[in-house]
């Protein structure tokens, strides 16, 4: 059972306090998008073994959403960070590269604008 620290209230939460929200940093695609683009947005997920950016809500706590960067194979949590960013921040990438020095973001994902 995971422990993730909610960056909004600072509590190290048991997984039972949290609700998972799937992959993070999806770019919404709406009217005007092609069928293929929209299908990508709705359904296509990469499910990586290793570094994964995901959304969690502190649902039985402060109620706020946040992001987590987690290793799906080892369960290591590199960082939890604000939900209000469009990509992992520089600090998050630094934490990941402390473990995987050659880590680069997957295609389609950009570092958060500072």
């Amino acid at each position: 059972m995971l422990i993730l620290t909610c960056p909004n209230c600072g509590i190290a939460c048991d997984e039972t306090e949290l609700t998972p929200g799937g992959v993070a940093h999806l770019e919404r695609s709406g009217p005007g998008a092609s069928d293929a683009e929209f299908e990508d947005y709705l359904f296509m997920r990469s499910n990586p073994k290793g570094v994964h950016f995901e959304r969690w809500r502190h649902s039985s706590g402060c109620g706020k959403w946040f992001h987590a960067a987690r290793d799906t194979a080892t369960m290591q949590v590199f960082a939890t960070y604000s939900a209000q960013v469009t990509g992992p921040t520089a600090e998050v990438l630094t934490a990941i590269r402390a473990k995987y020095p050659d880590y680069t973001l997957p295609e389609g994902l950009k570092e958060a604008r500072p």
Binding site: T19, G21, P31, F38, W65, V77
Partner: protein
């Protein structure tokens, strides 16, 4: 025979006899006995029958690994099957029955299964039951139903109570043997908060039996008990290790001393920074023909019974071994005045100290020999021997009444493996042990489990103790504490000769012997079964496990896994580490379902949500309906009335006079802020930002997939604020849905949401006399001019603070009145009192459903099921064509969603007037690829309408709206075919005249 020795018994108290019954026979043991030791002490060697072949079985082990001695325990509501006699502490009045036999343990018909043994070979489920098809029904199934399953299922509800407990510690030590105590001491001395748990009733593990640690154990226990930051619990088993240091523990509080009203088991949910597993090792059986006969026992278990309980499993015991440790049993038996006529050692010239000691005491050792077979059926009468390289032709037979077998030890690595720790293979000892370089990782990416003592492969007593202390110190250091290298006696030099791995005994055993050699006692898997699986192409250990059922019984292969694995790798001509182990999964041993449920049963199963009027409903004959965590009135039957009659009366009364509905469970979410209108425009399919303050609008909410997820009425409170009504079931998840979009997508929009559902009681005043009732209470102008349909107003009614919404879910003149929750009950009482002479009757959810269905209003969850879009339901009028975007808009443009062949909402009227079965499908000509009837529609809501005095229904039908008047066939599950005509879904007051007065 097995019997109680005249003196001794480390754990028993002879001044406290305990009587118990086994299969109805009264027997006696002592306080400190296990059920197994008491049975053996009473010469009850035969304790059960095996699962498949119903072979007679005796106690084989002395702990959690016991595969045979499983009992039906207790009676009535305290009955429980499959309890291990070896871990059941004896108490006065204990009732035990053996399992898997008919008509009795001694005379069992099912034992004939043995004659049909080839029929049950590996994979028999998969092979045998395929052909002929008819045999399944008449032959195989009845047979399997009669014989399958271990023990009996309890009949009634469990009469015991259970609880959960939470603990947060720095270091959790699993196992209270010498290694675990040393580990706890080392960690606690360094300043860590420590919890040390031990599954049995005593501290020390097997050290007091095998080594002389008694005084150190007593001193350590006393010292630990005196430390403030140390918690010590006996009878608390580690059950499972999970991510990030979460560990479950299973505490048996009352199994040894039943007491009504006190919790029986406690499930611990422990969060530990570091886990030290000092869980010891388990001795392996040897694989020779007849190794399952009662009286054949693990060598270590035999000395446990002698030393701990003064019980001798036999008078004349032969040891079969491939290692030195088995000789400890020989010496122990001799020390207690018992005979050891022979040792059969697979090795040539065993030269270890222990063997030498045995030889010096006159014990005959046949080295380079094997057990070729066991004489006796319900108990051992002798053992046959042959050279180790032989095929089994016996060269000699020795009379004996017990056989001790010692096949080497396997560290209990379960807690290292549960959460992903890797293992290494020790060639010399033939066992898996933890790979310290690959532990399970915590959230920081650091290891959080380490093993100490025998669990780490340090099998010798002194070495194990030292290893435990080191593990405790390392755990403390991992927490950043300073821990010196623990003191304590240095290990003695190794004095044991190497083990000889023997996986088949004799090495070239013939087929007959291999098919009478048991690997898994509990699941009746034989050596020949695993070899057959390998011949049939099973190469993966996980597949072989499932094909043969090796290790799949309640003991999870604690005795059988390594032996089975070795046989498999031999048959595949691969090395053991190459083949690998099966996955160790929690729990370590079975834990009670009651402990998992804990307190969550009966009234405390889940929280109950009550509306402010709950007590009134209860006092007025309500028939409840559970709606999520809420209880809602389904109807209010009067005396002499059925629930159905009550529903019909409530519908008619609401149409003709005045009804009152408790609508408090409706979700009420305040959405406020400068961007609230813009936000609701994205959330709803229609335009909400254009709504004027003082007005209400019905809206539909879809998810990004385009599917309808909720509906309800939005009231604009002022320029910046809206009150969103959701369905009763939708309040929480719609609020969460709003927050998701606000926090994660449109975080720069200025919108604030608050779920006010429980802040207000909401009461629907419905029917032709609704206005009259409110006017009677007075305080506001309820005229159509001042408060028109779809308007709302705030003010006092009869002295209550209210917000009144003129909305209708019934088609009648209707006012939904919200009052602060605290005033709800009083306001309801007042309405009931003042409405009496207007013919007021409360109505429940079923009348509400019928009223809305008569009007053709959809219900989320009936007309929608997560695959339905608003366009399917003819709700185009509620979908904005002007808006460039809303959640679900793009999805609703996908080709599948715009397909004209999607089923659409229509009304359905049976020709006969009968009520259509809910969920029934309309058949279409022909059959599909699965040979099922083609379908062209289905019923989504169906009721008897008291207003129209006939069945009415709604359904989704292929091209439905274009097929008005057509008749469809709906086969029911009762064999009857219902014929129904496609009609308009609005059955009553199509013009809406009644609600708009």
């Amino acid at each position: 025979m097995s019997q109680r020795l005249a003196t001794g018994g480390r754990l028993i108290d002879r001044s406290q006899p305990r009587s118990f019954t086994f299969n109805g026979k009264t027997l006696q043991g002592y306080a400190g006995d296990t059920l197994a030791s008491a049975l053996l002490g009473a010469d009850q060697m035969l304790v059960g029958r095996s699962f498949k072949y119903h072979r007679p079985r005796g106690v084989v082990a002395s702990g959690a690994e016991e595969p045979n001695a499983l009992m039906n325990m207790g009676e009535g509501e305290l009955f429980e099957p499959n309890q291990r006699a070896t871990t059941t502490e004896l108490f006065e009045g204990l009732i035990a029955r053996s399992q898997n036999h008919w008509p009795s343990l001694d005379y069992d018909i099912g034992a004939l299964n043995q004659l049909a043994a080839p029929f049950f070979s590996a994979g028999f489920y998969y092979k045998t039951f395929i052909h002929p098809r008819a045999a399944w029904k008449h032959l195989f199934e009845p047979f399997i139903r009669k014989s399958a399953g271990l023990g009996q299922a309890p009949k009634g509800a469990d009469g015991d109570i259970y609880e959960h407990y939470y603990a947060h510690v720095d270091v959790l030590v699993i196992g209270g043997g010498i290694a675990g105590l040393r580990a706890a001491h080392a960690a606690a001395s360094a300043g860590a908060r420590v919890l040390v748990i031990e599954q049995s009733a005593t501290w020390g593990g097997r050290a007091p039996v095998d080594d002389d640690f008694a005084s150190e154990i007593n001193a350590l226990v006393a010292e630990l008990a005196a430390m403030d930051d140390v918690q010590m619990r006996l009878r608390l088993m580690g059950a499972g290790v999970y991510d990030h240091g979460f560990v479950t523990g299973y505490e048996r509080l009352r199994d040894h001393a039943p007491k009504p009203g006190a919790p029986r088991h406690r499930l611990w949910k422990i969060r530990a920074q570091q886990v030290v597993s000092c869980t010891g090792a388990i001795e392996r059986p040897l694989s020779f023909a007849g190794n399952d006969r009662p009286g054949v026992m693990l060598a270590s278990a035999m000395r446990d019974y002698v030393v701990n309980h003064a019980v001798a499993p036999g008078q004349r015991t032969v040891l079969v071994t491939n290692n030195d440790d088995g000789y400890r049993t020989v010496l122990c038996l001799l020390d207690h005045g018992l005979e050891v006529p022979l040792v059969i050692d697979a090795r040539r010239n065993p030269e270890g100290t222990l063997a030498a000691k045995a030889r010096a005491r006159g014990v005959t050792i046949r080295d380079g020999y094997a057990a070729a077979g066991v004489r006796g059926t319900k108990r051992v009468t002798g053992i046959e021997i042959c050279p180790i390289e032989g095929s089994g032709g016996a060269v000699d037979t020795v009379e004996c009444d017990a056989v001790a077998m010692s096949g080497g030890w396997s560290p209990v690595v379960h807690f290292y493996s549960h959460c992903g720790g890797k293992l290494l293979w020790d060639e010399a000892g033939a066992f898996f042990y933890p790979d310290a370089a690959k532990p399970p990782l915590n959230q920081s990416g650091a290891g959080f489990v380490r093993c100490g003592g025998a669990a780490n492969g340090a099998l010798q007593g002194a070495e194990a103790a030292q290893c435990g202390g080191q593990a405790g110190a390392e755990a403390a250091r991992a927490l950043g504490l300073t821990a010196p290298v623990p003191s304590g006696p240095a290990p003695e030099p190794q004095a044991e000769a190497p083990l000889m791995p023997v996986w088949v005994m004799p090495l070239n055993a013939d087929y007959h012997r291999r098919s009478h050699t048991w690997l898994d006692f509990q699941n009746d898997v034989k050596l020949s079964d695993v070899q057959l699986a390998a011949r049939e192409g099973y190469e993966s250990v996980e597949h072989t496990k499932r094909y043969t059922t090796l290790g799949m019984a309640t003991d999870q292969g604690k005795l059988s896994n390594i032996n089975g694995l070795a046989v498999l790798s031999d048959a595949l001509d691969a090395s053991i580490p190459q083949v690998g182990t099966t996955t160790f999964r929690p729990p370590y041993t079975p834990i009670s379902l009651g402990s998992i449920a804990g307190e969550a049963r009966g009234d405390t199963f889940q929280p109950l949500r009550r509306t402010p009027m709950h007590d009134w409903h209860e006092a007025n004959g309500v028939h409840w309906e559970p709606v999520g965590h809420w209880r809602r009135p389904y109807a209010y039957p009067r005396s002499g009335e059925t629930v159905e009659q009550a529903v019909h009366r409530e519908v008619k009364n609401t149409r003709e006079a005045l009804g009152l509905l408790d609508a408090s469970t409706l979700g009420k979410i305040l959405v406020t802020g400068p961007d609230a209108g813009k936000f609701l425009d994205m959330l709803y399919t229609n335009m909400m930002s254009s709504l004027k303050p003082g007005r209400c609008r019905y809206g539909l909410m879809c998810n990004e997939n385009g599917f309808l997820m909720d509906d309800g009425v939005v009231a604009r409170l002022d320029e910046n604020s809206f009150l969103v009504h959701t369905t009763s079931g939708g309040a929480e998840h719609i609020h969460a849905h709003m927050e998701d979009w606000l926090q994660c997508e449109w975080w720069d929009w200025q919108v604030h949401t608050v779920n006010l559902t429980e802040e207000y009681a909401q009461i629907a005043v419905v029917g032709p006399h609704a206005r009259k009732l409110l006017e009677k209470l007075g305080g506001m102008d309820f005229s159509a001019e001042n408060l028109p349909f779809m308007g709302w107003a705030e003010g006092q009614i009869g002295g209550f603070d209210t917000r009144v919404f003129r909305i209708s879910f019934s088609g009648e003149l209707s006012f939904e009145v919200a009052v602060p929750a605290a005033q709800g009950a009083a306001f309801w009482d007042r309405l009931v009192k003042e409405g009496a002479d207007l013919g007021l009757m409360p109505y429940g959810t079923e009348a509400l459903h019928i009223l809305r269905a008569e009007k053709g209003f959809i219900m989320i969850g009936d007309e929608t099921d997560g695959t339905v879009i608003p366009q399917d339901l003819g709700l185009h009028w509620a979908i904005s064509k002007k808006k460039t975007d809303y959640l679900g808009k793009r999805a609703q443009e996908r080709p599948h969603m715009t397909d004209p062949a999607r089923w659409k909402l229509v009304g359905l009227e049976t020709i006969s007037g009968a009520v259509l079965p809910d969920g029934a499908y309309a058949t279409a000509p022909g059959y599909n690829a699965n040979d099922q009837r083609n379908t062209q529609g289905r019923v989504t809501s169906t009721y008897y309408s008291p207003t129209l005095e006939r069945g009415i229904a709604m359904g989704l039908v292929l091209n439905g709206p274009d097929r008005m008047g057509e008749v469809l066939n709906f086969p029911g599950t009762n064999g009857q075919i219902y014929r129904a005509r496609i009609v308009d879904p609005v059955f009553y007051d199509k013009e809406g005249a009644k609600q708009n007065v």
